[in-house]
């Protein structure tokens, strides 16, 4: 009898506690926040606090992970039915192809929607469209260029304005390579960066996209491969094992003089060595022999909602908050260039002092360099389906070419064969 009573009491207590827990819980949204820098990690914490303070009944479960791991993680979660609510995306091609993202046009068309197309820069807004439908709401623009150590360039007898062509860049890289300093940084160690932080950006400045292996681009492709072969003596011996993080660390230690990358540069460099930002400048990637002018690839980062989200209404509210003027004024001060055109630049500059107190002016100058590149010469980055496979094949061939096992001509044939095979299969 006593045992039965104890059991009944225990069950009652468990039941009451469960009910209390459920009543307390409200809605919990799972938000995937990718980033590579300490600054971004802080941004994830800030964003969670911001959303929870604005929507008291909503809890945010922030899943912070590195950019290279984002799609890998989602490819495990989604087929298993473990579907988060929101995700920050750079290029959503793969997720759109998987049918994982909710088109946002119907939400935007609602009369009470606080987000309107006119609030955003047109090019940045358009980059969020896939097959004519909005799949992300942009929060930041990303533009790419060539970061240069101005002091080392001047010591080598050159000025920033001298970096107009690939030949100028090769000359500068050679002149700046001395002792422990290498003239050109290329993070070849990880496929994503072996593709983007170099050949892809160089390709745009030679008027082609490196996923395009048609006969029409052959000459341009070969020129790009020869450029990297020519730059090799100015690269660190660790190039083959260098990821983007290691490249930024090496830059922070003052051992790289020039490197192509995006406007997330400050967020990554500041925690390593804020002083080096003083001598870091950004120029458009010099133009190749087949281009009439320099080009800078431009993309965006935006928030997307999963089609399988069980809390779509709540997720849309949170997404609207994440993309609001109030939030983005602060967030854009932390990372990259703003996607909204209605942001007050004075407020943004003031906010950036919170994140970069030791490099307020340097941050403003570098972001200004990126913005001034992006506007006159920016072209939207091409969205490439199955890019991840191409990146691995491409990296493999680049390693063999830089190891001297392949000539640029042989490398081209291999890249073409591999990329064409991926496209066909």
């Amino acid at each position: 009898m006593r045992r039965t009573t104890s059991l009944a009491l225990t069950l009652l207590i468990i039941g009451l506690l469960t009910l209390a827990g459920l009543a307390e819980a409200g809605t919990t949204l799972r938000v995937v926040f990718p980033g590579t820098s300490e600054t971004e990690k802080q941004g994830a914490v800030r964003l969670k606090q911001y959303a929870e303070s604005k929507l008291p009944g909503t809890k945010i479960e922030m899943m912070y992970l590195g950019w290279p791991d984002l799609e890998k993680k989602l490819s495990v979660m989604l087929p298993g039915g473990d579907i988060p609510d929101l995700v920050q995306q750079q290029e959503a091609t793969t997720l759109v192809a998987m049918g994982a993202l909710e088109p946002l046009d119907a939400y935007l068309a609602r009369p009470d929607s606080t987000l309107k197309k006119e609030q955003f820069f047109e090019g940045v807004w358009n980059y969020s469209q896939y097959d004519g439908k909005m799949h992300t709401i942009p929060i930041r623009a990303i533009s790419y260029g060539l970061i240069v150590r101005e002091d080392l360039l001047n010591e080598a007898g050159m000025k920033l304005t001298d970096l107009k062509t690939w030949d100028d860049m090769k000359r500068a890289a050679k002149a700046m390579t001395k002792g422990n300093v290498y003239g050109y940084g290329y993070p070849l160690g990880l496929p994503r960066f072996a593709w983007r932080e170099g050949p892809y950006i160089a390709g745009y400045s030679n008027n082609f996209d490196i996923s395009d292996t048609s006969e029409a681009t052959k000459t341009k492709y070969l020129e790009m491969l020869r450029l990297f072969k020519d730059l090799q003596p100015s690269m660190s011996p660790t190039t083959k094992v260098m990821g983007l993080r290691e490249a930024f660390q090496t830059w922070g230690l003052g051992n790289i003089a020039m490197m192509p990358t995006g406007d997330f540069f400050v967020a990554n460099l500041y925690p390593i060595n804020p002083k080096i930002l003083k001598v870091s400048r950004v120029v458009a990637y010099p133009k190749g022999p087949s281009a009439q002018k320099q080009w800078a690839p431009v993309a965006n980062v935006g928030w997307a909602m999963f089609k399988g989200s069980k809390n779509k209404e709540e997720a849309w509210k949170v997404l609207s908050l994440f993309c609001s003027l109030e939030n983005l004024t602060e967030e854009s001060a932390m990372l990259n260039t703003p996607a909204r055109r209605d942001i007050d630049m004075a407020k943004l500059a003031a906010a950036s002092a919170k994140f970069y107190p030791d490099a307020v002016e340097d941050n403003r100058r570098i972001i200004g360099d990126f913005v001034s590149n992006a506007h006159p010469i920016g072209v939207p980055m091409r969205k490439i389906l199955r890019r991840e496979e191409m990146e691995v094949a491409f990296q493999k061939v680049m390693i063999e070419m830089l190891d001297g096992k392949l000539t640029p001509e042989q490398a081209y044939d291999r890249i073409k064969a591999d990329i064409d095979k991926i496209k066909r299969s």
Partner: protein, 302 residues
């Protein structure tokens, strides 16, 4: 029908033991047997998350493509053998030497036995990150000391050069894995009766001969188990290689475990990735069977 009723009677007679076994059986079925069967099923489909979320049966096409058309697959299989047998052999050699030392009467023996376990209890990701820093081509400790002591006159990119990448990975794996071997062999050594050694002494067997003719034969059952376990664990060890090199540069240090990950979760080719996983299971199964048979044969010969 009689057999069914006999089964029913058996179940009702041993109701409690079967009930106690049920959770374990359910766990095994849910988390081991079902996933293995599902991996095999996926391996005969064309499931590619970018193309379609619905798998279609394609027979053995994934296997044929891997074996016949994939230019990297053979190298990856070879890498897996180098990684598995290299790691196990080195761990065994160092584990045996250490266990013999720690079995001897040493001052502070308990302390040495405890400290030996440090690499084994350190999380593998932490070990991988530490070794990556040791091997760093620009600022690594290994380069620093080798250059300081005049043994090298340049900085070597240990994880980036063909000649050094495998020795570097195997050394890291040796450091992480040898304490397990040592611990098991030490336990085995302590079961060898002292009078066997005394008899060997009387017969004039000392030093190496005592090790070769007395210790090792008596340790054989333990050796068989620990090396078999080490082979299987290393074959499936994904983390150490992933943290050190991510299977790169290119596929230079990819093994089957990392290739499954790349195929499935980087390229989203779940069908093809499952085929790599199935082949990996089959190969290690064959290796284990051959190994176990060899040991049984030797036991019979003894």
């Amino acid at each position: 029908m009689p057999s069914l009723s006999r089964l029913g009677a058996l179940l009702s007679r041993h109701r409690v033991p079967y009930l106690l076994l049920l959770p374990s059986v359910l766990y095994l079925v849910s988390f081991t047997i079902y996933p293995i069967l599902n991996v095999f099923y996926l391996s005969v489909t064309d499931l590619h998350l970018v193309k379609s979320l619905v798998p279609h049966f394609i027979g053995l096409k994934n296997y044929v493509e891997l074996i016949r058309d994939d230019p990297d697959f053979r190298r990856i299989v070879l890498n897996t053998f180098i990684w598995t047998f290299g790691s196990t052999a080195l761990q065994f050699a160092l584990g045996l030497a250490t266990s013999l030392i720690l079995n001897a009467r040493l001052p502070w023996r308990g302390f040495w036995r405890g400290i030996m376990l440090v690499p084994w209890v350190t999380p593998i990701v932490v070990v991988g990150i530490i070794w990556r820093w040791i091997y760093d081509g620009s600022y690594g400790l290994l380069n620093y000391y080798l250059n300081t002591f005049g043994l090298l006159h340049r900085y070597v990119v240990w994880l980036g050069e063909d000649a050094t990448v495998w020795p570097a990975i195997l050394l890291a794996s040796l450091w992480k894995g040898y304490p397990y071997m040592c611990l098991m062999l030490l336990a085995g050594l302590q079961t060898i009766p002292q009078d066997v050694y005394e008899a060997a002494d009387v017969d004039g067997a000392t030093g190496f001969r005592r090790l070769w003719y007395v210790t090792l034969p008596l340790l054989k059952p333990v050796v068989a188990i620990v090396t078999l376990v080490a082979l299987v664990l290393t074959w499936n060890n994904f983390q150490m290689i992933w943290v050190l090199t991510e299977g790169g540069p290119a596929y230079a240090t990819s093994v089957l475990a990392t290739y499954v990950y790349t195929k499935g979760f980087v390229f989203f080719q779940l069908g093809s990735g499952a085929a790599v996983a199935t082949l990996s299971i089959l190969v290690i199964l064959v290796v284990c069977v051959i190994y176990a048979r060899m040991l049984r044969l030797e036991e019979r010969e003894l």
